[in-house]
C-alpha cells in the first residue's frame, strides 16, 4: 500500500528526533497510546483538526492533555504535527513511526486489544506466544478497548487472531 510522502516524511522526522533524544521506546509507546485515544475520541479529533481553532490553541490543548503524563519529547512532537495542520494524519504518522521503530529493532508491531489491562507477565507471555505463532519477534502494543467485551484480538502485519467475546457475540447474532 502506497503512503502519502508527506506522512512518510513526518514519520521519519519524528522517528529521527525520538531516536536522537534517546527515548525512542518510550516516545513510540506514548505516541501509540495517544493515537489510539485520538481515534476513539470524536471530541479530541474535532478539537485537533478544526481549522477554525487557531494552531496555537490546538497546541495548547495537546500540551494540556499530555503535560505531566507523557515525556516532553512526545508532547512536543504531537504539538508540532497538530500545529502544522496535519492533525488528521496523526494516527497514520504515528503508526508509520511505530512500524519504523519496530523494523529498526527487527520486530513486527503486534497490536493487541483487550477489555482490561494486561499485566507485565501476561504481556511477556503473549509476546512469546505471538512470536511462536507467527514466527516473528513482535513489538507488543496493548490497547485497552472495552468494546471487545472480553478476550483478546491481536493483529500482526496482515494476520489477525481474534479471541474476543465481541466477535463471538457478533457471530451468534449473525447466526440468529
Amino acid at each position: 500500500m502506497s503512503t502519502d510522502p508527506r506522512i512518510e516524511g513526518y514519520a521519519k522526522a519524528l522517528f529521527e528526533i525520538a531516536r536522537a533524544e534517546g527515548s525512542l521506546d518510550e516516545v513510540e509507546d506514548e505516541l501509540f497510546r495517544f493515537a489510539r485515544s485520538y481515534e476513539s475520541s470524536d471530541a479530541l479529533r474535532n478539537a485537533l483538526t478544526n481549522d477554525m481553532i487557531p494552531a496555537a490553541k490546538r497546541q495548547a490543548i495537546v500540551e494540556d492533555l499530555l503535560g505531566g503524563k507523557a515525556t516532553s519529547t512526545t508532547t512536543q512532537l504531537v504539538s508540532m504535527v497538530v500545529g502544522s495542520g496535519r492533525g488528521r494524519d496523526l494516527p497514520a504518522i504515528i503508526d508509520l513511526l511505530v512500524a519504523r521503530a519496530s523494523s529498526s529493532k527487527n520486530l513486527e508491531v503486534a497490536e493487541v486489544r483487550t477489555a482490561v489491562a494486561l499485566s507485565d507477565d501476561q504481556q511477556a507471555r503473549l509476546a512469546a506466544a505471538l512470536a511462536n505463532a507467527t514466527g516473528k519477534q513482535v513489538n507488543l502494543k496493548v490497547v485497552v478497548d472495552p468494546s471487545v467485551l472480553g478476550g483478546i484480538i491481536a493483529t500482526v502485519g496482515d494476520t489477525v487472531i481474534d479471541g474476543t467475546v465481541r466477535t463471538r457475540l457478533d457471530q451468534l447474532k449473525a447466526r440468529l
Binding site: Q122, A133, G151, G163
Partner: protein, 194 residues
C-alpha cells in the same frame, strides 16, 4: 205632412220671398235676389258648354292616358303582389320542407348521440371495472408490503433491542476472573498454535 213636402214648402216660401223686384240708385232692376236673369242663364250656359267641350277635346286624351296609365300601374302592382304571394307561398312550402328535414336531421342526430352515449357508458363501465380491479390489486399489494415492512421493522427492532440487551448482559456477566480466564485461554491457544 211628410218631411219632403215640408221642405218643398219652405223652399217655395224662400224663392217667393226672393222674387221681390229691387231697383238700385242707378236704375238697374233686379227681379230676384236668388235666381239670375234669363239672359245671364243663356250666356252662362253657352259659355259653360263651350268650356266643357274644349276641356273634353283637349284635356280628355291626357286624362284618358293618365287613367290608362294608372290602371296599368295598378294592374302591375296587382300582378307583382300576385307574384310575391306565389313566391311567398313557394318559400313557405320550402321552409315547411326544410323544417321537416331539420326535424329528421335532429332525430338522426339525437339517435346518433344516444348511440354514442350508450357506447361511452359501456366503455366507461368497462374501464371503471378494470381500474377498480387494478386499485384493488394495488391496495392488496400495498397492504402486503406494509405488513411485510412492519414485520421486518419489528424484527429489526427486536434484533436491535436483543443485541443491546445481550451486549449489556454479557458485559455485566464477565467479571475480572472471567477476563483473566479469557486472556490466559487466548495466550495458551496462540502459544500452542505454532
Amino acid at each position: 205632412m211628410s218631411l219632403v213636402t215640408a221642405a218643398l214648402v219652405q223652399i217655395g216660401h224662400f224663392v217667393a220671398a226672393g222674387d221681390e223686384v229691387v231697383v238700385d240708385s242707378e236704375g238697374i232692376v233686379t227681379h230676384s235676389s236668388i235666381l239670375p236673369e234669363v239672359a245671364e242663364i243663356i250666356y252662362g250656359g253657352l259659355a259653360s258648354v263651350i268650356i266643357f267641350g274644349l276641356i273634353i277635346k283637349f284635356a280628355g286624351p291626357a286624362m284618358k292616358k293618365g287613367l290608362a296609365d294608372r290602371t296599368s300601374k295598378i294592374q302591375k302592382e296587382l300582378d307583382s303582389a300576385a307574384e310575391d304571394k306565389a313566391a311567398a307561398t313557394s318559400e313557405a312550402a320550402s321552409i315547411r320542407q326544410a323544417k321537416g328535414d331539420i326535424n329528421a336531421e335532429r332525430a338522426r342526430l339525437l339517435a346518433d348521440a344516444d348511440a354514442q352515449a350508450e357506447a361511452m357508458v359501456a366503455d366507461f363501465h368497462t374501464r371503471l371495472d378494470v381500474e377498480v380491479e387494478e386499485l384493488r390489486a394495488r391496495a392488496a399489494a400495498d397492504i402486503n408490503t406494509a405488513r411485510t415492512r412492519g414485520s421486518d421493522e419489528l424484527r429489526a427492532e427486536i434484533t436491535r433491542l436483543s443485541s443491546t440487551a445481550a451486549d449489556r448482559a454479557v458485559a455485566e456477566s464477565i467479571d475480572d476472573a472471567t477476563h483473566q480466564d479469557l486472556i490466559e485461554s487466548f495466550i495458551a491457544k496462540v502459544g500452542a498454535s505454532a
